[in-house]
């Protein structure tokens, strides 16, 4: 799944940065292609509370991590923030219900909600089956880029999961 998602992005990168590419020799391009998976990892950022944000231009797509969905168990109801609601980082903005527990949902970033995933509202189990893809929760028009840089990238998050502190 990761590879399928990465290839179009690399293509995009190459098309949009032709001048940059001209400066590189062919060996560099090959190197870049080899490191594609890292390129994808770098685009998804994580919080200590197991939310993720994927940045596309000014839009941040928000979801919960595989660790979080697995800890929750089967999600049976998703309450997502309404479009146009303005969120500050760490605001309570909805909840997910699983095995009799309602877990509050917090926004990992500040901004205005531009879209919520209605498929997830209709079929909450998408969060379990596809937490990084079909199970995304909502999209935010980002207002503070600094919030993103303070989050963990995928490899930092993997290290964080190995530490004791994440529970």
């Amino acid at each position: 799944m990761v590879i399928q998602r990465v290839i179009p992005r690399v293509a995009l990168l190459i098309n949009h940065s032709t001048t940059l590419n001209k400066a590189y020799n062919s060996r560099n391009v090959v190197l870049r292609l080899i490191s594609t998976s890292q390129c994808n990892f770098a685009e998804r950022y994580f919080t200590k509370k197991h939310e993720w944000v994927e940045v596309e231009g000014k839009i941040g797509i928000v979801g919960i991590s595989d660790y979080a969905q697995s800890a929750l168990g089967d999600v049976v109801y998703a309450q997502l923030p309404d479009v146009d609601s303005v969120l500050s980082q760490k605001d309570e903005c909805g909840a997910l219900e699983s095995v009799k527990a309602a877990s509050e949902l917090y926004s990992p970033v500040s901004g205005r909600v531009v879209e919520k995933n209605e498929s997830v509202e209709e079929t909450p189990s998408l969060i379990n089956t596809s937490c990084y893809d079909k199970g995304w929760l909502f999209k935010v028009e980002l207002t503070n880029d600094k919030e993103i840089t303070a989050l963990m990238n995928e490899s930092q998050y993997k290290e964080f999961l190995k530490s004791d502190e994440h529970h």
Binding site: E97, S98, K100, A101, E121, S163
Partner: protein
């Protein structure tokens, strides 16, 4: 990175956690839910765990994302007991329960990290066994059962830092009233709301006649405080002791919260058209399809193969934006003289009362 996280993490020694048992002196469901919410929001449970014990006058309590019309006999609730049965929506997940003074509620407040339902249920199990010699089991769904009969239902709320797990214990609840309040035929409802799994229940006093609510408060409270035994506190949930408690209580008691927060649903029911309206007098049916959003009617459709009710189908749209309650239709019916419209309105009313 890793070591810095380790450095930051606070290790709390379980034996150093302070423990308090709070016994609410209120029997009002909305006040007790407000107190629970107040404690959850205002306290830090990292080094102080709290067990709140509480009992309510007759009421039905639905989960955060449930549909009251689907879970309870909403139209009958005022008549189940002399004083009626209240309906409340709580903040936690899970299914619908019935409370009365024969039912003990327990809320375990911990930090999110310490949240563990099994630990709490085992504590209850041990306390009951020590005090009464009765063995209850913990089901895979975190219910407490005696044989295959349920004596306790569980639900939880998890926040960023704090969490609570609360559960019921049926001690000597009125089982006739439980059935009258909750038991119902399944209606044809389409919704994403979470549905209760209906289970057979029993009272603990039917298993061991020595078991009482007061006895359990003392036994479970003592077990929770072990090895200490001195921190039982009776609390009177007032605004003076808990600032703005009245405001939380008022919100929890509002129609907009209890009914208005119901996930969108569509209910369908069909009715036999009285022969007086039919030319050929054969059995024909009129279908009524009502869609409800935020507890209010967002659409009413008539499935009418006879074509007799096309005018009524238009007029019935006056119900849009009205609350999904029979009173809404009562106002209409009284002002109507036309029989066909009265019939249609009455069908709509029946959808609301029989759902």
């Amino acid at each position: 990175m890793k070591s810095s996280f380790r450095f930051l993490s606070k290790v709390v020694d379980a034996s150093k956690i302070k423990r308090t048992v709070l016994i609410s002196q209120s029997n009002d469901i909305y006040t007790n839910l407000a107190l629970e919410d107040w404690i959850y929001r205002k306290y830090d449970f990292e080094s102080h765990n709290i067990l709140m014990l509480w009992c309510n006058d007759p009421c039905v309590v639905i989960g955060r994302y449930q549909n009251p019309w689907l879970e309870a006999n909403v139209a009958d609730l005022p008549y189940v007991t002399d004083a009626g049965v209240a309906l409340a929506r709580r903040n936690s997940g899970g299914g619908t329960v019935y409370h009365d003074r024969g039912n003990l509620n327990l809320t375990f407040f911990t930090s999110k990290k310490q949240y563990d339902r099994k630990v709490n249920l085992r504590l209850i199990k041990v306390a009951i066994y020590k005090e009464y010699g009765l063995m209850v089991d913990i089901s895979p769904r975190d219910d407490l059962v005696v044989g295959d009969l349920k004596v306790s239902g569980t639900a939880a709320k998890l926040g960023r830092l704090s969490a609570y797990h609360h559960c019921t214990l049926l001690v000597d609840a009125n089982k006739t009233n439980i059935s009258r309040a909750l038991q119902k035929e399944s209606s044809e409802i389409k919704t994403t709301a979470s549905r209760s799994i209906r289970s057979k229940v029993t009272n603990l006093c039917d298993q061991n006649s020595a078991i009482t609510v007061d006895g359990l408060i003392s036994a479970i409270g003592r077990e929770f405080l072990l090895p200490a035994d001195d921190d039982f506190q009776y609390v009177n949930p007032t605004n003076a002791a808990f600032p703005e408690l009245d405001k939380i209580r008022a919100n929890l008691g509002e129609w907009e919260w209890c009914f208005g927060r119901t996930p969108k649903f569509t209910v369908t029911k069909s009715f036999i058209i009285p022969s007086k309206f039919l030319v050929d007098g054969r059995d024909q049916k009129l279908g009524v399809v009502i869609t409800v959003e935020n507890g209010r009617i967002s659409d009413v459709q008539l499935n009418d193969s006879t074509g007799l009710f096309s005018l009524e189908a238009l007029m019935i749209n006056r119900l849009r934006e009205c609350k999904f309650t029979p009173e809404t239709v009562d106002g209409l019916i009284q002002s109507l003289l036309e029989e066909k419209y009265k019939f249609v309105s009455d069908c709509v009313r029946q959808v609301m009362t029989s759902i």
